[in-house]
């Protein structure tokens, strides 16, 4: 069958070529003085115009906010640099809410000739799926989503990065700082409490703060952490107030997973060290910024566009890692970071990369005072939210292996969620 298909294909392309040649000839004939050089020129342009449909790739990006949000800026910067590197056309739509507007924006990008469309916000997913169903010839890639592997759409894909590894490394920087505070006698060992401002009590956030905590714990075993949620991805006031509350509760170091400058600013004002996210906040927080983890989406954009160029299928779930250059740490701020942080991070990083260290190693944490040996996560999206996949084996929790978006949603000992009954 396949061979037959190919034969038909090649026949068709012969026909196309013949037509192109004919068109070239007639064009040349219209020109009056039909020299052979001209006609071969015309044939060449006809050929390259066929090449141009492969070359003529246009990528679109849909963003929830604009550059004002650190989260969207991170996507926009990566998208621009990737498109520039690849030398392709691009179009960006900003301030697209998580509603029908996203579907409209995606379809407009299709109208504008995009062959591949990316979206950056979790709530865009369903509307991207609607657009993907209606435009099977265009590739739709949704970052942070969870439904690609169960949607059975060949042109809809999810992507994420193993940012939990980045957060773990950032956690080591936090641990080093706390260790320094203990050694200097600023705090006692039992006062080593960190604070974390999270957006939603969602697996992506839980996976993030747990890996951050485990990173710190690998340096200071007695460390604990309080977590507060703002129930918004971007709410500067709530994030600032959340951080202030944590500082009042004697947290000695703050980190966050929300997209405004609220928490870093609160830390700078209170002179409390901060481990940031999405990118460096050192310019606004020169005294307190230690380091920030972030996802660089450019490798994904280049990979996915490359697939379209070569006519290959894009991974249903793509996970960027430290080695693909998708998970990055910003430069350390020496004014705030403890001595030896860079070396400690470097050691852990190489261990993570060669597989000797796992972030969610079940021997490093307990749940209700017990070590976990088995856990079923809700990996496949369905209406029931029933756990469906065993994710612990070989002594560690396999994060982001069964789908790209994180699914570690376990409350572990040592982390207290504020406002939640125990």
């Amino acid at each position: 069958m396949k061979v037959f298909d190919k034969m038909v294909m090649s026949r068709r392309s012969v026909v196309t070529l013949g037509l192109a040649g004919g068109a070239a000839l007639s064009l040349a004939a219209c020109g009056g003085s039909s020299t052979s050089a001209e006609s071969s020129d015309a044939a060449a342009t006809a050929d390259s115009s066929e090449g141009a449909t492969i070359e003529g790739i246009k990528a679109g990006l849909i963003c929830l906010h604009d550059e004002q949000s650190t989260y969207d800026k991170n996507f926009i910067d990566a998208f621009k640099s990737a498109c520039e590197n690849l030398g392709i056309e691009s179009e960006i739509k900003t301030n697209i809410p998580e509603g029908q507007e996203c579907y409209d924006a995606a379809c407009e990008l299709v109208d504008d000739g995009c062959n591949i469309i990316f979206a950056d916000s979790f709530g865009h997913e369903d509307f991207m799926i609607s657009a993907a169903e209606e435009n099977p010839e265009v590739q739709f890639c949704h970052a942070t989503g969870v439904k690609a592997h169960t949607s059975n759409l060949p042109n809809f894909h999810n992507a994420f990065a193993s940012i939990y590894e980045g957060r773990y490394l950032a956690g080591i920087a936090a641990g080093m700082k706390i260790k320094e505070m203990i050694e200097a006698g600023d705090i006692k060992e039992n006062e080593a409490k960190m604070g974390y401002v999270g957006a939603y009590p969602y697996a992506e956030v839980k996976s993030g703060y747990t890996s951050f905590y485990l990173g710190a714990k690998s340096v200071v075993p007695s460390v604990t952490m309080d977590v507060t949620f703002t129930n918004s991805w971007y709410d500067e006031t709530a994030e600032k107030e959340g951080a202030n509350k944590l500082i009042d509760d004697k947290c000695v170091l703050i980190s966050q997973h929300a997209d405004s400058m609220g928490a870093p600013t609160a830390c700078e004002n209170a002179n409390i060290p901060n481990v940031s996210y999405n990118g460096s906040t050192v310019a606004a927080c020169p005294k307190t910024f230690i380091v920030s983890s972030r996802i660089d989406w450019a490798p994904y954009y280049e990979y996915a566009v490359g697939c379209v160029q070569n006519g290959e299928a894009i991974d249903v779930d793509w996970v960027g890692t430290l080695s693909t250059g998708s998970v990055l740490l910003t430069e350390l701020n020496d004014a705030a970071a403890a001595k030896g942080t860079a070396e400690a991070i470097e050691t852990a990083k190489s261990q993570l990369e060669d597989g000797t260290l796992h972030v969610f190693d079940t021997s490093t944490f307990t749940v209700k005072k017990k070590e976990l040996t088995s856990y079923k996560a809700d990996v496949d999206f369905d209406e029931k939210y029933e756990p469906d996949t065993e994710v612990i084996s070989d002594g560690y929790f396999h994060e982001s292996e069964n789908r790209s978006a994180p699914y570690f949603d376990i409350d572990i000992d040592g982390i207290t969620i504020l406002g939640q009954k125990k």
Binding site: K93, S232, Y385, D409
Partner: protein, 359 residues
Amino acid sequence: MHITKRKEMPIGQAIAIRLGAIVVALVVCGVLTACLTGLNPVDVYAAMLKGAFGSPRKIWVLLQEIAILLCVSLALTPAFRMKFWNLGGEGQVLMGGLASAACMLLLGDKLPGPALIAVMFVTSLAAGAVWAFIPAMFKARWNTNETLFTLMMNYVATQIVAFYTIRWESPKGSGKIGVINQASHAGWLPQVGPSKYLLNILLVAILTVLVYVYLKYTKQGYEISVVGESVNTARYAGIKVERVILRTLLVSGAICGFAGFLLVGGTDHTITTTIAGGRGFTAVMVSWLAGFNPAVMVFGSFLLAFMDAGAGEISTAFMLNHSFGDILTGIILFFIIGCEFFVNYKVRFESKREVAEGV
């Protein structure tokens, strides 16, 4: 300088003043654009036009936006004609939308399609009506301030929607409901004709005619006008003012609920706290600018929807911040609203000599 109230301006002159205001606004915007961004203002205006009319899809989206904004404006108008300042459109739309979403989620697999849509329709209208009825009741009974009351009801509605968003969120912890019944399409309004937005547009077109007739040719519409002119006159004429207030706000809220029904059942198929998108407030301007005339509101809705589409295109085409488009919209609206002053008042500049000569 003398300012005097005009009696009645000839319609042609009034339209000329308004068109003039738009032209002046465009010139001011053009100068500002050139100064602030260095772009050619003509290109910017061309981009705005392209954003609104650039492709058949864009035109459909524009018409859909006009339809929903018009629907909310139509909803507010009966109350406004009565001088009941219903600023609660936002909340009433949200409650209507929430009712639709609740039906889709809870009854999606229990009822056949047409029955489900009928239930959504009825509950949405009822939810919107109740949300307007509460402040109306307080106004009718105890003469509370309806402006503040309806405004506050918006925030209550937003929080109720936020509560149910978390309750029905999918997946857990994400704070989003996502598209409801994406596989079964239960409770989705059917597609009519070439575009999935056509049905909404047709329904609002019919509604526009109905509201126009209701206000202009029915006894109830007349009662609304009398109460709006003077409560005492209405009482003297034997109109039960309290009843008219309650009845009119039920109508007003129900139409808002209908807008929520169209948004949730017709286009978005989800509910969020921002689904009304500020239309409850924008509609106040549309209704007012049109002098509470449903037919004229079509133009006001068009203007605002067009500018919004244009603003979005500017930010995409020139990589300008979306706020820049909003600034231009603000300037244009300022001139349009400002020109009403010149429609209603006459301004004369007189030199001293003219006054002395008694000109």
